[in-house]
C-alpha cells in the first residue's frame, strides 16, 4: 500500500499538466488516497447472454475475495440509450445475475440505480432494454438516480475546478457502490468502463442531460473527480459483447465473451483496455488515476480467472483515438 501526498502528486508530469488547466491549487482534497501494492482483477468466460451470470459473478466474488455480508449494495449499470441490436447498455441479464450473486453472498439489500446520461426517459429505457422485466422477475427495486433526493457533497479531487457536486442520496448512503459498465470505445475519452460509468450517478434533474456540466469541465477531469469521490468498491464489467468504433452510442457491437471484476476500478479498467488493444498509459484519465486511485500497470495487477490473452481482440478505433493503441 502506498499513500501519496499532494506535494508528491503534483510533481507528476501528466497530473500536474491536467491540474494546471484547472484552478490554481492542489487537485486533491484532504481525503486519504492510497494505492494497493497489487490489485486482483478477474476475467471470467461468458460467451453469450444466456450464460448463468449469477454463477459466473458468484465465482468471481469468491476469487477476488470481497466480503459483501450485511451490506446495502447499489448496482450502477450503464443504461444510456436504446437501439435494437446495438451494444450500448449493460445487458440486463448481467445486472440481474449480479444482484442474485450478491444476495447469495450475504448482501443485506441489493438495488439497481441509474441516471441515464443521454436520454432522460428512464421508463422507456427500462422497458425497451428489458431491464424492467428482469428486475420485476427477481424482485429487485430500481432507483432513478436522475430524480433521487440529492445532497451537495465536497469532491475528493478537483481536476474539474469544481469543489462540490449534488449527488443522489441513494449513492451516498449505499455501503457498497458497484460500477457495472458496458465495455465500449468512447469517442472523447478513449474508453468507457468502470470509471466513466459513474457519469450516470450525476442527477440530471439538477444538472440536465447529458450531464453537460461534466463535459463543460472536461470529461477526463470529471471522470477523476467522480471516481475519487464515489469510490466504487466493486466493478463488474459486461464485456460479453462490447462496442468499438464511434462509441459510446454509435459504434459497433464487438463480441468479447467475458465478465471482468475487481475492487480496484482503475485496475479493472486498465485490464479491459489491454484486452481490447488500448494502452492504459495513453488514456489520460487512467494514467492520472494510476497515481492516486488504483493500479493500472500490468505488473501491479494480479490476474485471476482467465488470462488477458484468452480474450484479446482489438477494438476498432476512430481516427482521433488511434494514438491510444497498445503497441
Amino acid at each position: 500500500m502506498s499513500t501519496l501526498s499532494r506535494r508528491a502528486f503534483l510533481s507528476l508530469p501528466l497530473v500536474a499538466a491536467l491540474a494546471s488547466c484547472r484552478r490554481a491549487g492542489a487537485p486533491l482534497s484532504n481525503a486519504e488516497f492510497s494505492v494497493a501494492s497489487r490489485s486482483a482483477v478477474g476475467l471470467f468466460a461468458a460467451p453469450a447472454y444466456d450464460a448463468d451470470f449469477a454463477d459466473v459473478i458468484g465465482r468471481g466474488l469468491a476469487e477476488i475475495g470481497i466480503d459483501v455480508g450485511g451490506k446495502s449494495v447499489l448496482l450502477k449499470p450503464n443504461m444510456v440509450e436504446y437501439e435494437p441490436g446495438e451494444a450500448i447498455n449493460t445487458h440486463p441479464a448481467v445486472v440481474a445475475g449480479a444482484a442474485v450473486a450478491l444476495r447469495r453472498a450475504g448482501a443485506r439489500e441489493v438495488r439497481v440505480g441509474e441516471g441515464p446520461g443521454h436520454r432522460r426517459d428512464v421508463e422507456y429505457l427500462l422497458t425497451a432494454t428489458g431491464l424492467f422485466d428482469y428486475l420485476r422477475d427477481e424482485g429487485i427495486s430500481f432507483v432513478d438516480l436522475n430524480h433521487d433526493d440529492v445532497r451537495e457533497v465536497p469532491l475528493a479531487s478537483w481536476f474539474t475546478g469544481m469543489r462540490s457536486l449534488a449527488l443522489p442520496v441513494s449513492v451516498l448512503s449505499a455501503d457498497l457502490v458497484v460500477s457495472m459498465p458496458k465495455l465500449k470505445a468512447h469517442h472523447w475519452a478513449g474508453l468507457t468502463c468502470g470509471m466513466k460509468n459513474l457519469f450516470g450517478t450525476v442527477p440530471g434533474a439538477v444538472y440536465g442531460w447529458p450531464k453537460n456540466i461534466l463535459h463543460f469541465h472536461g470529461i477526463d477531469a470529471s471522470i477523476l473527480d467522480l471516481t475519487a469521490t464515489i469510490r466504487p468498491g466493486l466493478t463488474i464489467v459486461d464485456a460479453v459483447v462490447g462496442m468499438d468504433g464511434d462509441g459510446p452510442i454509435m459504434g459497433n457491437p464487438h463480441p468479447l465473451g467475458f465478465v471482468a471484476m475487481g475492487t480496484d476500478v482503475p485496475a479493472v479498467d486498465a485490464t479491459c483496455a489491454r484486452v481490447v488493444g488500448i494502452d492504459p498509459a495513453k488514456v489520460p484519465y487512467l494514467e492520472a488515476a494510476s497515481h492516486f486511485l488504483g493500479n493500472t500497470s500490468a505488473a501491479r495487477i494480479r490476474q485471476v480467472g482467465e488470462p488477458v490473452e484468452r480474450f484479446r481482440s482489438d477494438f476498432a478505433l476512430i481516427e482521433r483515438m488511434r494514438g491510444i493503441r497498445l503497441e
Binding site: R120, D121, E123, T127, H147, D149, E152, G208, I213
Partner: protein
Amino acid sequence: MQNRDERRQRLLDAVGADGGWPYYAGQAGRIEPTAWALVALVGIGLDERTRDRALAFLSGLRREAGLLVDPGAPGANFAWNGLALLALRQIPHASARELAGQLASALTAVRGAALEPDHTIRQDNSLRAWSWTPGTFSWVEPTAYCLLALKKQPDRSPDVAARIAEADRLLIDRACRPAGWNYGNGAVLDQDLRPYVPTTALALLALQDRRREPVVAAGLDWLAANAVTERSAMALGLAAICLTVFGRSADNPVAALSASEGLTGFLGNTHLRAMALFSLTLSEHDARAFRI
C-alpha cells in the same frame, strides 16, 4: 387501469408535507413534478388549498436573481424554471402572477454559454438560448420550455422579443436531418443524430407559431409517424399534447399511454403521472397550458 378521477385523486394524494410534489413518494418536493401537477390539475379543477400550498412551496424556492432552486441543488435548473412559468401562467391568482413576473424577468436575463466554432459539430455556435444550468451550453429541452413560457407572455419587451427570436433560430438550427430533434445537436463528428419523440414534441410546441418553417413541418410529420414508437408516459404524453396543439389526431398516443399505465405504473414517478393525467384529459382542457 385507472379512470380520470382515480388518477386525479392519486396525484392529489402524492403532494408532500411541504406543499410541493416529489418525483417519488417520501422525497422532498421538487419544481418539475410540482409544475406538472399544477398544469394537470388546473386543467381539470384545482382546489384553493392545494393551489395555495403549492404556490407557497414554489415561492419558498426563490433564490438569487428570482430563479427557483430545487432543495439540495446548488443552483437553478432553467428548464424547470421555464416549466414553472408555464404552470404559473395557468393560475389566475395574484401570487402566481407575481411569481410568474419575476420568473419571466429572470429567465430573460439568463442564457447558455457561448461556444467556439467547431467543425466536428454541424451547427451555428453563435446562437445562444437556454442551458440546463448556469454556465453551460444551450440544449433543446430547456430552450423549448423557456421559449414557450416567454411566448405566452402577453406583452413582449424588446429584450424578450430578442431572446425569442434567437431561441427560435437556435431550435431551427439544431433540427436533425431529415426531421425531428435530438437533445442538443443534429450531428456530431459527421454522424447525424437520431430524433426522439419527447424532444421533438417539446421543440415543436415551442415553435408552434412558426408552422411554415420547413423543419417544423417535417418534424410534425415525423412525430405523427413515430408517436407511439417510444412507450412511456413522457414520450406518449408529450406526443399527444403536441399533436393536439397542432390540430392532429392524438388518438394513438393517448390509447398507448392508457395501456402502458398498467404495465409500468409510470414507475410511481409523480411527474410522469401528472404528465399522463394531463394527456389523458386533453378533451377537457385542449392542452391550453401549452398553446401560445
